[in-house]
Symmetry: C2
Subunit: 153 residues, 2 copies
DNA sequence: ATATTGGTTCTTTTTAAAAAGAACCAATAT
DNA sequence: ATATTGGTTCTTTTTAAAAAGAACCAATAT
């Protein structure tokens, strides 16, 4: 993994701008490069030379937002932290956000007294409704596409 | 606008979790409630009782990400900060992010030496490609939908 | 031509988020 | 039964982001 150090830094910066913490972003990118997209706790501590608590919190965060899963192998206590690649489409997250925005806008539209410019809000709500319907459809199409490609192997 | 104070706080919290600064989030929600979705600089300073610099930076940020535009009226120097509601679909932003993710994953796939688990990365790239194509199509469909509804008025 | 308004920008202070380090705990190893 | 490993959690320190406040500047008002 040493060979990827510069790349990991570079890509982690992008994720930081999307809201990840420095260590969270680095772990994430590390796993994209790692064999089998998995690694262990002390691999990460050693590679990044940061504290155990930083790694622990980084992993916990990534697990909370479902980007990684942790599992144990052949009864050993060591855990493997593995990227869940399908979750990486960010679909759940994106759909949740669409609904959150829609709920917010609907609440605003209801409590708002101004009558003259309701149309724009209404249009925006329509957008979020549409997207929340279409997104899962596209996701499903993607799933079928990759399943189909796999048949040929 | 006094009547919306509690609601503004409530919804601003949601936006803060999406990465907005406290003041940035409040300005944004304020404009969703405001007549004509617009306001002036000192309206905002007075309403939120925060410093001019906080408001200035908040507005600048919202303008940078294209959520609001500022304009001047009948040659007066006072500016009106107005929400750009179509921009609020977040479409440009979403599409930019999709492409950013795809570029990152493609770069990783190329420089990665592990051969055995390239498929998952490839599948993920397919997802981002698909989404970057479909998103603008959905956006366009939404535009036609709302244009069509408007005809009946 | 000078004064005022409507902001912006720069520096300092405050506040919040991230990381460090120590203490701890549960699970397996011996 | 005791020791060690693989982490987590709690408290403190560090670092970064946000806001405050003063100084400033450009545009219009007088």
């Amino acid at each position: 993994m040493e060979q990827y150090r510069a790349k990991i830094e570079e890509h982690a910066d992008v994720l930081e701008k999307m809201g990840f913490s420095p260590v969270g972003a680095r772990i994430y990118i590390y796993l994209l490069y790692a064999p089998d997209h998995q690694s262990t706790f002390d691999d990460l501590v050693n590679y990044f030379k940061v504290s155990k608590s930083a790694i622990s919190n980084g992993l916990k965060y990534l697990e909370t937002i479902k980007l990684i899963i942790s599992k144990t192998m052949h009864g050993q206590r060591k855990r493997y932290f593995k990227m869940d690649l399908e979750a990486n489409t960010g679909a759940d997250f994106a759909i949740a956000r669409l609904n959150q925005m829609r709920n917010m806008l609907e609440d605003i539209l209801q409590s708002r007294k101004e009558d003259k410019d309701r149309q724009e809000l209404q249009d925006l709500i329509t957008f979020y409704k549409m997207m929340a319907i279409e997104y899962p459809i596209l996701l499903e199409r993607w799933r079928r596409t990759i399943a189909f490609e796999k048949k040929d192997d």
